[in-house]
Amino acid sequence: MIRIIAEMLSYPFLVRALICGVLLSVCASLLGVSLVLKRYSMIGDGLSHVGFGALAIATAFHWAPLAVSIPVVVAAAFLLLRLNENTKIKGDAAIALISTGALAIGILVVSLTTGVNIDIYNYMFGSVLAIDKTSFFVSIGACVVIIVLFLLFYNRIFAVTFDEDFTRATQARSSGIHILIALLTAVVIVLGMRLMGALLISALIIFPALTSMRVFKSYKKVTVSAAILSAVCFVIGIFCSYTISIPVGATVVVINIIAFLIFFLIGKIRIRKQQ
């Protein structure tokens, strides 16, 4: 096993994928706790589809993928939040509209230009080779910024997540928290998408939070547990994916499912013990 790990670490692209993946997983899980509790779980899914559309268009016209997709996804995030506040189109329907719409446009552009090639396939299901040097540094920089911002605004994020009305009514400085969360989520999704795959990235946001909530009952514990769990699952996932030669994104998601089941059982046993 040590031999396999040493062998993995001798490939620079794997080391990059490992570092980026762990950082992105941590960021995604931190934001995920808030998103899941605010019933915005599907925003991640919607945004990743938008990201796919943007990447497909960027590839077709040979534009820089990150430079195109980050602004587009950020814009979509704002639009989704706006629609959520607007009661005429319900939040979940709005997400479905935008995500399928973006996916459809992406597929059309792809089929009219390059056709479904390996790039497009990788955008959908992720690839461990996706992290080149530029995106490596961009990702690390973005993740550090996200983690720092999250820690700085942790208390306010909690307040807004728990009770938005109360926070808005009593606190002047909490109005931007929403926008901050949407913005950071959009960035995490675009950066993580090529490693994890557009169709799978939202698992990184939803699973760790949901898993931790099976066992822990305070916000702080759930947050810390989600971050650790997410990193551990990614490391195990990338290791399995290398040894058995299976796609990294799907493997990480399956590891997360296993973790969920374990935590679910622990939670059940705890409740039974209490009774």
């Binding site: 509790l37 700085l152 605004f153 942790y154 208390n155 306010r156 909690f158 307040a159 728990f162 009770d163 009305d165 109360f166 926070t167 808005r168 009514a169 009593t170 606190q171 002047a172 400085r173 909490s174 109005s175 909530m213 822990f216 009952k217 305070s218 916000y219 702080k220 514990k221 759930v222």
Partner: protein, 268 residues
């Protein structure tokens, strides 16, 4: 809603009553600055609008932050939110500047919990508490946010009679130490007993004044007789007559073994 105009002074205990859909909650959301009024203003004593205190704040000249406390309707909260009591109460202190909790804020949270008798629940999970305890936690959070004015949206909804009484007593104590209370209530009897001002809404203001004056109005009698009540019965009131049966025996606190309703409801 239109033509709603009223004013309250520091130390008042105002109850907002009215039927469902009469605009009580809309009014409160406007007072809190959660909803922009189509026209009109909500002003504090120094002429600052409520909007300067919260999201979308407009008035930059208002330096002073009006600290308000708010106890939302419980149904707005999620039932499975993982949070400890301490985390929730502390979040009430966030209107003070700074990103991290200071020792002073923690002290404030502890003393708020102490005064409401929930200090021993500090580390417990909010979702595992009883309804009454949850209300106390939210009241403690509201207390952390203010020393001046508390907005309460149906604070006793869904609580059992004993806990309801405790809640009212707690609110009365808070009013006595100088906190202005603005409360939405369906419980007209309690409103008459505890408050000193009443605002009766029905899309517009049907009544605004002191509780003593309100008791003399027809409005009050009419509203009271809709509720199975032990004091009021109005022979000219249609609704009263319909429910006469119910009224007549509840009014004397008598228990009648031949009466269906009595037997169903047990002793009243």
């Amino acid at each position: 809603m239109k033509d709603v105009s009223f004013s309250i002074s520091a130390g008042d205990y105002l109850c907002i009553v009215g039927e469902n859909g009469s605009g009580k909650t809309t009014l409160m959301r406007t007072l809190l600055g959660l909803k922009k009024p189509d026209s009109g203003q909500v002003l504090f004593g120094d002429g600052c609008s409520v909007g300067s205190n919260s999201a979308g704040g407009g008035d930059k000249s208002c330096k002073q932050n009006h600290k308000i406390g708010y106890l939302p309707q419980k149904s707005n909260l999620q039932k499975d939110f993982p949070a400890s009591v301490m985390e929730i109460v502390l979040s009430g202190t966030l209107n003070e500047s700074g990103l991290f909790y200071t020792r002073k804020q923690k002290k404030k949270a502890v003393s708020a919990m102490e005064s409401l008798g929930i200090l021993d629940l500090k580390k417990q999970s909010f979702m595992e508490l009883s309804g009454g305890q949850q209300q106390r936690v939210l009241l403690a959070r509201a207390l952390c946010a203010t020393e001046d004015i508390l907005f309460l949206d149906e604070p006793v909804a869904g609580l059992d009679p004993k806990v309801t009484l405790e809640m009212y007593e707690m609110i009365r104590t808070l009013n006595e130490i100088g906190i202005t209370i603005v409360m939405i209530s369906h419980d007209i009897e309690a409103a008459l007993e505890y408050s000193n001002h009443i605002l009766h809404l029905n899309k517009d203001v049907d009544f605004f004044g002191t509780t003593e004056e309100y008791k003399k109005t027809e409005l009050c009698e009419h509203y009271l007789c809709h509720i199975p009540d032990h004091l009021h019965h109005d022979d000219d009131c249609e609704i009263c007559n319909e429910h006469q049966h119910l009224h007549e025996h509840t009014k004397d606190h008598l228990h009648d073994h031949d009466c269906e309703i009595c037997d169903e409801g047990g002793e009243r």
